[in-house]
């Protein structure tokens, strides 16, 4: 009985003596605790995306074939429904409830010309622009001017009755115009990377039986090409500003007599009054011509990928819809590609940007391996499309060595926010983090980095999860990381833009796009049921040439149903 009160009394005495020690330091510490508590309550936010959506990013089919994994699909296109076929273009005047057309590249350009849409679907009419970045300066081209060029070049090539046009240009507005002219004026386009020696180029032209060539004036020995390619009947030179005074009309020796040589800017100047600012009327039911690109392979020549119009539109639509609504390209965006448009991922991202009425910036030095800082000077983009090679070089050579202790502290604070599922806003800590690593960049408006990795690219170019976190913190932009493969338009798989989780080792490639589905084949049935499915990556869907392709690389579907490369 007497025990309890004495216990209480003791406790009271202890508390008394404790509080008796209260002094100025105690007040300070208590104050700090209170401030920290309030801060952590105020600063806590819902993550950008529900964590369950990152914990299972694709759905596997309920049935699998023996020796294969289940077939994995994007969450956008569940099993039993068709994959994304196209752009769902609704013609004006068509009944509201009808499904849209798949569309083709002509519709992409038409949408770009139409201008932006209001949220209710009416036309606001704000057109994007196309910039070409030359060193530190950007040249602006209006879309109607480009339309004129499309018409002039398209007519010129149609009058010459060519069927297959090889384009060998650096990334430029002429390259885009030539591609769209192909769609409107019905010739097949072959995009040949511009850095090949003349012998390889000549072999390529022979292989595809190109009857016209659009190339940069003076970039290679043309007589060698024309000698080997007797089927070539039109050569169209694109002369740079500084070279325009020269006479490029000379027919090279050994070429056949009727070879027609002309110069792009002269044609445009002569015929622009005839050409008109609007694109020609077209019947959407007529198929748009194919577009070929060259996939670099171990042999120097590379492999031709014959994309049909259906593959392209499916991939454009899927790339667009893979981004959540708030992150899609809008008319306020400026999309800069520093990866060569001869590769399908950058090309189709640019098409997707044009379709969404964003402005596009092209860089003539763009390629798989460029200096990130130099290539992004001159414009202030909101979106950058780059290759994994470029980004891993930049990370290795600039970002990592320039990360001092202050940057590291800032990075650590920012990565906490990322881990909690939020993109850190630009604040004191982001300034702190960016002091060293990205000081030379002028990427104030950057909000999204689209990075693509070739499935057969070097392993050293692959980005780790840590590196992607570094890129997010140091550039202040969200990142999507895509896997591309031969025969697949756009990408095979791409990470979720809100997936900021930082794991150890190489980063995964997210879920398949809504234009593809992935099956791992060549699995041994013995250990198929336990562990993660691992096998050769087989991709099928409307974005895949001939519907299905099996890649040489092996992949794995990890616990969160994302695709990883095995080795």
């Amino acid at each position: 009985m007497t025990d309890q009160p004495s216990l209480l009394r003791q406790l009271d005495a202890v508390l008394d003596s404790l509080v008796a020690d209260w002094n100025i330091y105690t007040t300070i510490v208590a104050g700090i605790i209170a401030v920290f508590f309030v801060y952590s309550v105020i600063s806590s936010k819902d993550p950008d995306v529900h964590p369950f959506l990152l914990a299972r990013q694709s759905t596997g089919s309920p049935i699998r074939q023996p020796g294969e994994s289940a077939t994995y699909r994007s969450l956008e296109t569940p099993h039993g429904f068709p994959l994304r076929l196209g752009l769902n273009v609704k013609d004006p005047g068509a009944p509201k409830w009808t499904a849209g057309r798949r569309g083709d590249l002509r519709d992409v350009w038409k949408a770009a010309l139409r201008g932006s849409l209001n949220p209710d679907g009416t036309v606001a009419g704000q057109q994007g622009k196309i910039y070409t970045v030359l060193g530190k300066q950007a040249v602006e081209h209006s879309l109607s001017k480009v339309t004129q060029e499309i018409n002039v070049i398209g007519r010129h090539l149609r009058e010459s009755d060519v069927k297959t046009v090889a384009i060998c240009l650096t990334d430029s507005v002429e390259l885009l115009a030539a591609i769209f002219a192909g769609a409107f004026y019905g010739y097949k386009t072959i995009i040949v990377p511009h850095n090949f020696p003349a012998e390889t180029l000549s072999a390529h032209l022979k292989h595809v039986q190109a009857d016209a060539l659009i190339a940069e004036a003076g970039s290679f020995d043309v007589s060698l090409v024309t000698k080997e390619n007797k089927q070539l009947s039109v050569v169209l030179w694109v002369a740079k500003e500084g070279n325009r005074h020269m006479d490029w009309h000379e027919v090279p020796e050994g070429a056949k007599d009727n070879l027609e040589v002309s110069v792009w800017h002269e044609l445009v100047e002569e015929q622009q009054d005839l050409a008109g600012m609007t694109v020609p009327e077209y019947d959407p039911s007529t198929p748009a011509p194919a577009l070929n690109t060259v996939w670099p392979s171990s042999s120097q020549a590379g492999e031709f990928i014959d994309f049909q119009s259906e593959n392209l539109v499916s991939a454009i639509a899927a790339l667009n819809s893979a981004l959540p609504r708030t992150q899609r390209f809008t008319s306020a965006d400026l999309v800069l590609s520093i990866d060569s448009l001869a590769r399908s991922y950058p090309l189709l991202q640019v098409m997707s940007a044009l379709f969404s009425n964003a402005s596009v910036a092209l860089n003539s030095v763009a390629g798989e391996q460029v200096d990130f800082a130099l290539a992004t000077a001159g414009v202030s983009p909101t979106v950058i499309i780059a290759s994994s090679r470029t980004m891993s070089n930049y990370h290795e050579r600039i970002m990592q060595p320039h990360t001092g202790p202050i940057s590291s502290l800032g990075r650590w604070m920012q990565s906490r926010t990322l881990e909690a599922g939020n993109m850190p806003s630009r604040n004191f800590f982001s300034q702190l983090a960016q002091i060293g690593p990205t000081a030379e960049l002028s990427l104030d408006r950057l909000r999204l980095l689209c990075i693509s990795h070739r499935v057969d690219g070097e392993a050293s170019a692959r980005l780790s999860s840590e590196q992607l976190t570094d890129l997010r913190v140091f550039t202040g932009a969200r990142v999507v990381y895509a896997l591309t493969g031969p025969g697949v338009a756009g990408a095979i798989a791409q990470t979720n833009v809100f997936d900021y989780r930082c794991c150890t080792g190489q980063s995964h490639f997210g879920a398949p796009l809504s234009s593809t589905e992935i099956t791992l084949t060549g699995m041994s049935e013995a250990n198929a049921s336990d562990g993660l499915p691992e096998g050769q990556i087989t991709v099928s869907g409307p974005a895949v040439v001939n519907g299905k392709t099996t890649l040489s690389s092996r992949g794995r579907i990890s616990n969160d149903n994302t695709l990883e490369l095995s080795s």
């Binding site: 020690d21 330091y25 700090i32 605790i33 964590p51 074939q65 023996p66 794991c503 969160d560």
Partner: protein
């Protein structure tokens, strides 16, 4: 001597509050493991059946209920009340149900008795019956999974027993 009681930073209450602060800090910045969902059910392996192997899947006991329509094997276990033992269509469980569905008859005569015989080629069906069969097949494809295909015993595709 009140002066002797110098304000001490290391008083017990300060230590308690300081450690509370450290705990709070840790709680706020501790690394949180990402959310992990349990793996979904393993996918069913697509198999090739012959009538003799298919008949085992008649729903007796805990076994699933399969039935075949024109060579496609459907897993109708979710409709066990109809297709399983005791259901109105129980004769079809583990069998080739094509003829029965076409005739809209659930009698035993509709089934091929000899399990080693070739599959019913359904050549004698009239247009109405074929249409009937077609609509059944469509309904099955909508509702149930195709888990395999049915071939006759001795068919080149038949699994070696």
């Amino acid at each position: 001597m009140p002066q002797a009681e110098v304000m001490s930073i290391a008083s017990p209450i300060n230590l308690i509050l300081a450690s509370l602060f450290v705990v709070l800090l840790y709680w706020h910045f501790r690394p949180k493991p990402p959310v992990v969902l349990p793996r979904g059910p393993e996918p069913i392996v697509f198999r090739t059946y012959i009538p003799k192997t298919l008949i085992e899947f008649n729903g007796q006991g805990d076994r699933p209920v399969f039935l075949a329509v024109r060579g496609r094997v459907f897993d109708v276990t979710p409709g066990k009340n109809f297709y399983g033992p005791g259901g109105p269509y129980e004769n079809f469980a583990g069998r080739d149900a094509s003829r029965g569905l076409a005739h809209q008859s659930f009698d035993e005569e509709m089934l091929t008795k000899d399990l080693s015989a070739p599959l019913d080629d359904l050549k004698d069906l009239d247009a109405d019956q074929l249409e009937n069969l077609q609509s059944w097949e469509e309904r099955f494809s909508e509702k149930y999974l195709v888990v395999g295909k049915l071939v006759a015993e001795g068919d080149p595709e038949a699994p070696a027993s």
